[in-house]
């Protein structure tokens, strides 16, 4: 009875909508989480390609996948020591 009355007057979002939203966010997060192995492999390939063109500081290179709500970006910070001579 009390449940019924509170349901009539209570305009709170239903628990299903709460579940939907939580699920949406958690799945976005889960799906965007990339394994450290994958990032490691990507980093190694990046270094190999970039080194053909310039001398980079491999030690302080940073590669990260960042997500912000619905968008995702691969952020890389690659310090360049020197450029190779133009051919």
């Amino acid at each position: 009875m009390i449940d019924f009355i509170s349901r009539l007057f209570n305009k709170d979002t239903s628990s299903k909508d709460v579940a939907r939203e939580r699920l949406r966010l958690v799945l976005i997060h889960d799906r965007s989480t990339v394994s450290p192995e994958l990032i490691g492999a990507l980093k190694a390939d990046l270094i190999e390609v970039i080194q053909q063109y310039m001398d980079i500081d491999v030690e302080s290179l940073i590669v990260n996948l960042e997500n912000d709500d619905d968008t995702m970006a691969l952020i890389a910070n690659i310090p360049v020591r020197s450029l190779k001579r133009a051919i």
């Binding site: 449940d3 299903k16 579940a19 889960d30 799906r31």
Partner: protein
């Protein structure tokens, strides 16, 4: 064992999360297909935590298990347990006192290869989790059925499992939703089938409503699909027909009547 079709289908039933009704689904789907005259075998790969023998009511008939088969202590034929009700249904039991490392994926593939010539359907009951037991269970399968419940934790695990099946190059992955309560969905207190499909983006194979009869049938060791009057039994029958290749419309889940609603809201009944 008389096979209906020249080809066999190896179907793994998996979920990630435990307790969503995988084994119940395997027991009912296999019983239903055997009832239609197909020759069916169910492989219990939940080594160390077996349940399938109990759900099928065959626990007293188990002599050998799959680990003994791969270790060469008995033949595959000796380990197969014949069902009480349907002569075309067999179970390959898991070992209870061993663990998932006592069998390899290659051995599971080998056992399946040996079963294929004799059976139309080979069901694999996958353990919960994403570790070795899961990898063993999916190794030999052609198709996968992902079982979930309409709750956030089960759906999240299902999503992970679907991702793993896709990266293992499964082309045929279908969803089965267990334990849905139409009254709660209507009230806005439970995720609906549409919500689940939208999030998981896979094809729906079937929906089984919550039914207290499942507990009773498990108590007795008689799959609920044998009870045509139960809503879960009917739902499982529909899934079986779909697996057998028939087009079956999705069951309209029983809506509560006006009086039922009134009674519930005023605190009678439940």
């Amino acid at each position: 064992m008389a096979k209906k079709n020249p080809d066999s289908q190896v179907i793994v039933v998996t979920s990630g999360k435990g307790g969503v009704g995988k084994t119940t689904a395997v027991a009912n789907l296999s019983t239903g297909l055997a009832k239609l005259g197909y020759s069916v075998v169910v492989m219990d790969l939940d080594i160390g935590l077996k349940k399938l023998d109990l759900i099928l009511g065959l626990e007293n008939r188990v002599i050998y298990d799959i680990v003994q088969v791969v270790e060469g202590e008995c033949t595959l034929r000796q380990a197969l347990v014949k069902d009480k009700r349907f002569p075309e249904l067999y179970m390959l039991p898991a070992a209870q006192t061993r663990n998932k490392d006592d069998i390899t994926a290659e051995q599971v593939v080998e056992v399946c290869k040996e079963l294929r010539p004799d059976f139309d359907f080979i069901f694999i009951d996958c353990p919960a989790g994403i570790e070795k037991g899961f990898q063993n269970a999916i190794a030999a399968a052609d198709k996968a059925i992902v079982v979930t419940n309409p709750e956030v934790s089960a759906v999240r695990d299902a999503d992970r499992i679907i991702g793993m099946l896709e990266s293992a190059e499964f082309r045929d992955i279908k969803l089965m939703v267990n334990r849905i309560r139409p009254d709660m969905v209507r009230r806005g207190d439970m995720l609906s089938i549409e919500d689940l499909i939208e999030h998981l983006c896979i094809e729906l194979l079937g929906v089984v409503p919550e039914d207290s009869g499942v507990v009773i049938s498990t108590n007795r060791g008689e799959p609920i699909i044998l009870n045509d009057k139960s809503s879960a039994g009917q739902a499982f029958n529909n899934v079986v027909a779909r697996i057998a290749g028939q087009e079956v419309p999705f069951m309209v889940l029983q809506e509560e009547s006006f009086w039922g609603k009134l009674k519930r809201n005023f605190g009678f009944g439940r």
